[in-house]
């Protein structure tokens, strides 16, 4: 067996991804679709691992497969009869979506070719490696995400916040669940502390190895999801002021750091080399808190009871 044989594995994965994607779109029912989507996330995570991109594999395993799976299964539980009716989209919608997707594929192919052989004088990876020592961290992915291209990450956090605001406007949150039966409760009881440790680890390790705020936030959110699934009432969400602060903390601290560097050196988000390591950890810490809060609130699928107390509930 030569190294080329690994190509068979890659081929299997590509085929499986296509089969699963098509299967999820054309499944018999939403439940089947959700399960296929979860497995799709698993295969994508493996594919990223195979492409030597453990950072993305981690994010995909945590968010794409695990957390999104739990979220979709919970959404299925809440649907009313009739919601499942598989409505056929009108032709013009299918054509429009198809056109957009084709355009995106063409754009991606062009970008790929451009990066591969194209006009860039030097591959970006080399530039990152050459300047890595100035970034304050030794994991190139984190260096790019939180230093060299920090504003991208700031905007991502903002997008997540915007999504959260959208979900919060949907109405009251998912109702709490009954206490779990002993076996599930036992399992949840030791999984949650483990998730907390693993989340903390990914936050810390992001500085020099794959990991970071998004993956860490996802694991902490998964811990909270488990507490909800287990019907553990002793874990209450913090009050609405603190909850709001938690949700915006990541963006706020990030922006504060950006503005201070603007005042100090005249460039937005230009982290000074000798402080960069500490600043990045600070930003990641708050970003993790915000991401975990946002993902969990998105799982809850609406605003918590304390969020806007002045609202009049029609069924009260």
């Amino acid at each position: 067996m030569k190294a080329g044989a690994l190509l068979y594995l890659d081929l299997i994965m590509v085929i499986l991804m296509l089969v699963l994607a098509i299967g999820a779109l054309h499944a018999r029912s939403l439940r089947h679709a959700v399960i296929l989507f979860i497995v799709f996330g698993l295969v994508v995570a493996l594919a990223w691992a195979r492409l030597r991109a453990p950072d993305i594999a981690l994010a995909e395993a945590a968010i794409g497969s695990g957390l999104a799976g739990a979220l979709l299964l919970a959404a299925l539980r809440d649907r009313r009869p009739g919601d499942d009716a598989t409505r056929r989209a009108p032709v013009w919608q299918s054509v429009a979506v198809g056109g957009l997707v084709t355009a995106l594929v063409v754009l991606l192919a062009w970008a790929f070719l451009e990066v591969q052989g194209g006009r860039a004088n030097e591959p970006l990876a080399n530039i990152v490696q050459a300047t890595l020592h100035e970034s304050g961290v030794s994991n190139p992915v984190t260096a790019v995400l939180l230093n060299f291209r920090a504003y991208d990450t700031l905007l991502e956090l903002t997008v997540l916040l915007a999504a959260l605001l959208g979900v919060m406007s949907l109405g009251p949150q998912r109702s709490p669940m009954r206490a779990a039966e002993p076996m599930a409760a036992g399992l949840i009881g030791w999984l949650i502390p483990l998730l907390i440790l693993a989340g903390g680890y990914l936050l810390w390790v992001g500085a020099h190895a794959p990991g970071g705020a998004f993956q860490a936030g996802a694991l902490l959110a998964a811990a909270a999801v488990l507490a909800h699934l287990g019907g553990r009432r002793e874990f209450q969400l913090p009050g609405h002021t603190r909850l709001r602060l938690l949700a915006v903390a990541g963006c706020a601290v990030f922006t504060l750091v950006g503005v201070s560097t603007l005042l100090g050196s005249g460039v937005l988000l230009q982290l000074p080399s000798d402080w960069a390591g500490g600043l990045i950890l600070l930003i990641e810490l708050f970003a993790t808190a915000s991401i975990a809060t946002a993902l969990f609130l998105v799982y809850l699928g609406g605003h918590p009871p304390s969020w806007n107390s002045r609202e009049v509930h029609p069924d009260a």
Partner: protein, 101 residues
Amino acid sequence: MLDVISLLLIFSGLAFYLAGTIGVLRMPDTLCRLHAVTKADNLGLGLLASGVLLQLSDPLQMLKLLLIWVLVLAASATGGQLIARHTLDQKPNGDPPEDAR
């Protein structure tokens, strides 16, 4: 020598993975399939992980591998039970309507 033992462990692990998969495909109902998943598959991962373990040098990494195995073991033994209970709870009134679609 170490390499040989390690490969032997890895390939016997693969054999159990394969047996577990065939079991899932051949068994007549959900509960019987669970037997194959929880037992054969765990043994597969256990053997494979010990094969990989022999190739590591850092004792902490070895312990991490052990942690992963224990985690999958405990998770699949209890996760299997949750699925089994779920199946039993559904049984009296046949398959629930959402399964039928």
